[in-house]
Symmetry: C2
Subunit: 259 residues, 2 copies
DNA sequence: TTATATTGTGTCATATTGACAAAATAACAA
DNA sequence: TTGTTATTTTGTCAATATGACACAATATAA
């Protein structure tokens, strides 16, 4: 699947019914960290004052996973990012398409009410964790803005996108118990404090520094480097990096096996 | 949604495109326990020698969750069963519809190749845990047999249904760490040994009797009753029942919070 | 040189887990 | 009636994990 060759907007407006899998969309909850806050990347529609998750439709010749990956890539320019399916949202009432109708009208589509995009859709939620600084948020063709929003202060979202984000965060919190995170979230080398801050931000609570280090090191997915120039007026911390081999093994097999 | 009034077969053959949500199906992995084995309920097609999961399509006016529930109910006659979404299977190649084509032909559908059911489908996997003895497996209109199969000896399944079952089992094993199970799986009163056997069967390994009881009781979801007539020539075990209030609270909030 | 902030490391009481053993008891056989 | 057998209830104990906290080390700035 060659992502670059796709002209998603044109396909959606005029070729949709044949090119895309009907009834199904993907939405990506892209998490990033900044200033001690957990952020999520949102788009503001040109013809709608509300914010929406980066999402899209699935080409007939495209795996759902690939579609999610394409959406993530289009919006962040990042590749190789860990993306995880967490839930399908399938209620009848979740899609009321007022804004889509207006949007089709203005785009010059005849008889917008019978356009395929006005039909009921179910959507598959994926979440990703990305390095905030590496992302240059770019709106797509039908959006006016693309920006980070604090995950705890979500207002004016379309449809059920607030619930999708909340479910995504809930899933992420659960997955933290048996899945390593951080690989595409931090620079190659980082102090443990930074990783701890990520955990604290996701969980929404403070963790004991000493106990956190003991636990995270016990997973055996980190390699300790030499000290850094801390920059701060205090003892310089060690730098760590993820041992990718062990990291992916842990992703595969899980961190804890309680039973 | 009135389940009884649906004529699924007729709808599928002749009304499909309008009545159902296109491209999406649900499949239920229905687990039961018998003779120390974990079983899954499968259907054998009338026009296909292969076995399939109980599954179906989603009516336009029906939530996905309701569709899964309807499928479960139709096949087992059971209501109020815990059903849990675990994964969406969305690869392009997952649906090759040779058997569907033959099936449409024999059902008298003209031009089967362009029938909506021949198109690509993604499917949402749900799993359920049911009391084996309470289920009277009934084939649907387009199946010749409905029977339990050992989850470790799956042969001749259509499409990716073997992978779906395996993923469902894997999910169930994971969920065991933070989710109570057993409520619709055991009689109202039961000895702890029976619950332990269920855990052992799901996990595929033996557990220490004493430690299992300590752990399961620590969840605080069981009420101890008076002793039973054991029937065996040995000390009679206590009977337990699930405290529904606490059980559902645990379902909601989770059993363990590691972080 | 000293103050300050933050890290590396260690301690310790408590809780949890895994492995196992002793006592209790229902049914059966002699 | 009594002993045997199987399985349960209950308990023990060492090993490990966790939570709370203490103290020494050290990079920068005053």
């Amino acid at each position: 699947m060659d992502v670059q060759k796709k002209n998603v907007l044109g396909d959606m407006l005029f070729g949709g019914a044949e090119l895309f899998l009907p009834s199904v969309s993907v939405d990506c909850v892209i998490f990033g960290f900044h200033a001690g806050e957990l952020k999520v990347l949102l788009l503001k529609g040109k013809h709608d004052p509300k914010w929406a998750l980066p999402g899209g439709f699935i080409y007939q010749d495209e795996n759902v996973e690939e579609a999610a990956s394409r959406v993530l890539q289009e919006r962040t320019q990042l590749t190789g990012i860990f993306l995880r399916q967490f839930h399908l949202f399938g209620d009848v009432k979740r899609t009321e398409q007022k804004h889509a109708r207006r949007w089709l009208e203005e785009a010059g589509v005849e008889d917008p009410d019978s356009h395929w995009i006005m039909q009921r859709f179910v959507t598959i939620g994926y979440y990703a964790l990305v390095e905030f600084e590496k992302v240059n948020p770019v709106p797509d063709e039908y959006s006016s803005e693309c920006d980070w929003h604090n995950v705890l202060e979500l207002r004016n979202l379309i449809l059920d996108h607030k619930q999708i984000i909340e479910k995504g965060l809930e899933s992420l919190r659960l997955h933290l118990n048996f899945q390593p995170i951080g690989l595409n979230l931090l620079p190659k080398e980082f102090p443990l404090k930074d990783l701890q801050l990520i955990y604290e931000t996701i969980l929404g609570k403070k963790l004991d520094r000493s106990n956190f280090q003991r636990k995270i090191l016990s997973y055996g997915i980190l390699d300790r480097k030499e000290k850094q120039f801390s920059g701060g007026s205090h003892r310089a911390p060690y730098l760590y990096s993820f041992n990718k081999k062990k990291y992916f093994k842990a992703l595969q097999e899980g961190l804890n096996k309680e039973w």
